[in-house]
Structure formats: C-alpha cells, structure tokens
C-alpha cells in the first residue's frame, strides 16, 4: 500500500492511498485503502493515509478516529495518531501505521510494525526517508 498527505500554501489538506490488496485474497475482499474514514481521510484540520491489516483499520475507523481526536479533543496530531496506532490498534491486534498532517504543518508517522516505508519533505525541499524504527535509522546512518 502507498499513500500521501499534503498541506499546500493555501492551507488546504488532502490525503490519498493506493493498494494492491493482499496476496492470495479471495471473494472480492476489499481492505481499508478505498474506505473513506478507515484508510483515507481528510478534513480542514487533519489528513491521514493508512497502511496495515485493513480489517482492523476498517473496524476501528482509524483515519477518522485520529482526525476526530484532533477536532473534538484538541489533541496535538502526533499524540492523536500515536494513541490510535500504538494503543487502540495494538490492543486490538491490528498491525500497520499511518502518515498524517495537520493544518499547521505538524507531521506524524507512527507505526506498530517492525518497519514502514515513509518520508517527509517540507518547504526547504530536503527529502527525509526512513524504513526502520528511528533508533535503527540512527544506528545505520554513516
């Protein structure tokens, strides 16, 4: 699964997700990626794209849950995303991660699996890419 979230110069957020599903799936199984509110969601405050065990992301409406915590509980985006990915999903047994941005340009990329292909670029145009946990990335840096 791949995805992107962006905040433009006008202050508008957007989210997109695309996937090939899962190997050996049957019966027209559909995961979370095309389900608005589960694997993809954006509102004026928050945008999220998810990747992971889709059945859990659907049942826990992960993308919308993160944005709802920002909207109604006024939680900082990184905290909201971390709670959903590393508490709610972990307790449920759902593996994966999300990328998210808020209208102030704050970024979150939490995941509860061993790795997540991910990256960020800001106004300076310097791309930052990571795959493993932060500690491993630091350890592997030249």
């Amino acid at each position: 699964t791949v995805g992107a979230v962006a905040l433009d110069q006008a202050g508008n957020l957007a989210a997109g997700t695309s996937t090939g599903g899962m190997t050996n799936k049957r019966f027209g199984r559909v995961g979370d990626s095309p389900i608005i509110g589960a694997g993809t969601y954006a509102d004026p405050r928050c945008a999220v794209s998810a990747t992971g065990h889709g059945e859990f992301f659907i049942r826990y409406t992960v993308a919308r849950d993160i944005c709802a915590r920002v909207e109604y509980q006024s939680l900082p985006l990184p905290e909201a995303a971390n709670i959903v990915v590393n508490d709610v999903l972990v307790k449920a047994g759902g593996e994966g991660g999300v990328i998210a941005m808020d209208r102030d340009g704050n970024v979150a990329m939490p995941f509860n699996s061993t790795g997540m292909y991910r990256g960020y670029v800001g106004e300076d145009g310097q791309p930052h890419v990571a795959i493993f946990k932060e500690s491993e990335e630091s350890a592997s840096s030249p």
């Binding site: 699964t1 791949v2 995805g3 992107a4 979230v5 962006a6 905040l7 433009d8 110069q9 508008n12 957020l13 957007a14 989210a15 997109g16 997700t17 695309s18 996937t19 090939g20 899962m22 190997t23 050996n24 799936k25 049957r26 027209g28 995961g31 979370d32 990626s33 095309p34 389900i35 608005i36 694997g39 993809t40 969601y41 954006a42 004026p44 928050c46 945008a47 794209s49 990747t51 889709g54 059945e55 593996e95 991660g97 990328i99 340009g105 704050n106 970024v107 990329m109 061993t114 790795g115 997540m116 292909y117 990256g119 670029v121 800001g122 106004e123 890419v129 795959i131 493993f132 491993e136």
Partner: protein
Amino acid sequence: KWGLVIHGGAGVISRENLSAEREAEVRAALQQALQAGHAVLAQGGSSLDAVTAAVRILEDSPHFNAGKGAVFNHDGINELDAAIMDGATRSAGAVAGLRRVKNPIELARRVMEKSPHVMMMGEGAEQFAKAQGVELVDPKYFFTEDRWQSLQRALEKERAVPSQSPSSLLPGVDPVTGDHKFG
C-alpha cells in the same frame, strides 16, 4: 509550513529481508515521490495535485504494493484499490477491484471530481475510466516475478493446511521478499 508526507507500506521489514540493493531502490523511489509532490507545492499547486503526483510515482514503482507492484489475488489476478480526499471540501473519491487501470489514484480523483458518487468498483469503475480517458493497460503490465512467487508460496502453504478457516488464513500471506504486509 506546507509539505508532504508519504508511505510505501508497513509490515515486517527488517535488514535481514531487505537487501542493500533493494533498500537503495526503495529509498530512491520514495525520494522521487517526495520531490514530485514538493515540486507541485513549491509552485503553489494544490495539496490534491501534490498527493496525486506523489502516489503516481509510487504506483509506477515495482517495489510497493500498488499499481505496477501490486500483489496477486488467489486467482492470480492483480486487483487494485485507491481513494483520495480533499480536506477543504470533504469531497472524496474511491475505487476498488480494478484490473486494468494503470494509476488507480487518477481514477479515484475522477470519481471525486467528475461524478456525483464517492465509490465505484470493478467493471463499472473501468467503464468510467474509459469514458474519462484514464489510462488502461493490459493486466500483464502488473506482473512481477516476485509477487507471482509470493502467491505460489501462499497457495502452497494453503494446500499444506487445507483445514484453515478463512480468518486464520489472513496472517498466512507470504508476500514479496519475505516481508509481511497487509493492505
């Protein structure tokens, strides 16, 4: 504070199952996607255009489970899903079960912008794609040897344990290069 964040999937990704060569290729593709999105935003383009540009790059790479790199279903077919959402208006478009659309994110956006609907699936979605001039490809375009071998391993595992229930089969997928992904 404008910017762009991307992902290319999560799962059991370790240094043991990711060769240095593949890691370099993955990182290069991620950087290319970031640069594509940044170019849009730097010119004052919309977040929707930036997201579309970045996801297209990732869909065109064989290294991620989307577009060109999609995994195979039980019947040896690639089935693609995608969605896009505009935060300013809460407009959304989604597509599921595509077999011939090269860049599903493009079709999801057409659904959002050129139809009164939110979600389309299967043959109907591909008819809409054709009407919209969205690029269709021969399904062979999505074939990659790695993904095909992953399906064969998954089928072999399934044959070895035929009594597994559908739910117990979910964690039994055996994806590309040993990493374990869902989507």
